[in-house]
């Protein structure tokens, strides 16, 4: 086996991918080759930091949730241009949404419905959620009615929340002039511990946290 060939096996060696025979040959070579030992030491350092970083990664489904959330929004630099299209863009933004829910009852294959209640900030508002399990995810339909009219720099946001204040955004949307709209979303199965549904009114200030201005609330545990 040539020098280059031995050197090329170092990555596989660290990953435990060599056959017993290859491993024995390489280790024999390493015993007599300081250059390859140095290369192995450097590769091992990179291997170790990668292993450590890999051990602490977020769950894979989180990426889907993050991208689903932002796909309905317009990034800062593009925002002014889009505002010229507000009526048409509003229709696109409606498609945004998403939320979740999940509690044992939503894991049934048949559709369920949760009625959302109005709050003091929007006493005439009403809404409901329908969910249906599709594979690993949940297809959610949110229908709202008589939501207050928004200023141009505001939007509505739907959340799933816990009683301890933990909260995950499902997506943002705007309603039609009469305050009604229906939006569809896909909820990952990882939000099982967020049984409270909230719809809040949000200023477009770049802060991704909730404003706390709830206009509709619901409790999946009521199912």
């Amino acid at each position: 086996m040539s020098e280059d060939r031995f050197e090329g096996l170092l990555g596989s060696y660290l990953l435990g991918e060599l056959s017993v025979e290859e491993e024995r040959e390489l280790e024999d070579h390493l015993a007599g080759c300081s250059e390859c030992r140095d290369e192995l030491a450097r590769a091992r350092q990179a291997h170790a930091v990668l292993q450590e970083l890999a051990a602490g990664g977020p769950p894979p489904e989180l990426k889907t949730r993050v991208l689903a959330r932002v796909r309905g929004e317009i990034p800062a630099r593009s925002r002014d241009g889009w505002r010229l299209w507000v009526p048409a863009a509003a229709a696109l933004l409606l498609v945004v949404i998403l939320g979740i829910w999940l509690i044992q009852s939503t894991i049934r294959d048949s559709p369920d419905e949760v009625v959302l209640s109005a709050t003091a900030l929007a006493p005439k508002a009403s809404g409901d959620l329908r969910g249906e399990k599709k594979g690993e995810n949940f297809q959610i339909e949110l229908e709202v009615r008589e939501l207050p009219r928004l200023h141009e720099d505001e939007y509505y946001e739907m959340w799933y929340a816990r009683e301890d204040g933990g909260r995950i955004s499902c997506g943002t949307f705007r309603a039609q002039p009469g305050g009604q709209t229906t939006v569809n979303l896909t909820a990952p199965a990882s939000a099982v511990s967020y049984p409270i549904i909230e719809v809040t009114r949000e200023p477009d200030d770049g802060d991704p946290g909730s404003s706390g201005e709830k206009v509709l609330v619901g409790d999946l545990r009521s199912l």
Binding site: E7, G8, L9, L10, G11, S12, L14, L15, E17, E39, R42, A43, Q45, A46, H47, V49, L50, Q51, E52, L53, A54, A55, G56, G57, P58, P59, L62, K63, R65, V66, L67, R69, V70, R71, E73, I74, P75, A76, R77, S78, R79, D164, G165, G166, R167, I168, S169, S193, G206, P208, G209
Partner: protein, 190 residues
């Protein structure tokens, strides 16, 4: 062997694309940096679900504020670290941090952000990965973060197994160089 010219899209180019509404660029930045953001959440907030919220908030902020990023004032990594730190402080202030439970132990050596006081942290590794050629980053990502064997990687990206083996070694060496001599990799950026 390691001097081949391979175009690497730099973080600053990706954030410019994000500002134009390119969610694929955001996806790439997420792949590069969600781990150190998450690790920071685990370390600061001590809770996996809060760390997930931090990742979501941080990358939503990146999307919303991409147009305000100024590469003349800070690197993308520094900018993202500031966003992450500020969002973590907000989350920490708003919620009582629950005790760390089994399986949620904070990562060791993930402490200093992009300019650590010493040692190597998750931000350094993520940034070093972003600087190496895509074919190297790909093989490392599939092996370490997706847990694929070299044979599975070979099938996934349709490259001979022997090439995957030698590329793995090359990629580890390139990553090591990127960690210890960051400037040496900058010329490979688009």
């Amino acid at each position: 062997m390691f001097g081949s010219v391979v175009r690497v899209v730099g973080d600053e180019e990706l954030i410019r694309r994000v500002a134009e509404g390119d969610d694929r660029a955001l996806s790439e930045l997420y792949d590069r940096y969600s781990r150190p953001v998450y690790a920071t959440g685990i370390r600061v907030l001590g809770d996996a679900s809060l760390a997930e919220e931090l990742v979501q908030d941080a990358f939503t902020s990146v999307w919303r504020a991409a147009g305000s990023f100024d590469p003349g004032r800070a690197s993308f990594t520094t900018w993202l670290y500031r966003i992450t730190r500020n969002r973590a402080v907000d989350l920490n202030r708003r919620r009582r941090v629950r005790p760390v439970s089994v399986g949620e132990e904070p990562l060791r050596n993930v402490s200093g952000g992009p300019e650590p006081e010493g040692g190597v942290d998750g931000w350094d590794v993520a940034r070093a990965l972003s600087r190496i050629p895509e074919e190297h980053r790909e093989v490392l990502t599939l092996a370490y973060f997706e847990g694929l064997s070299q044979r599975e990687i070979s099938r996934r990206i349709n490259v001979p197994l022997g090439t995957i083996k030698s590329r793995s070694t090359a990629a580890l060496k390139r990553l090591h160089r990127s960690l210890v001599s960051p400037g040496a990799e900058e010329s490979g950026h688009e």
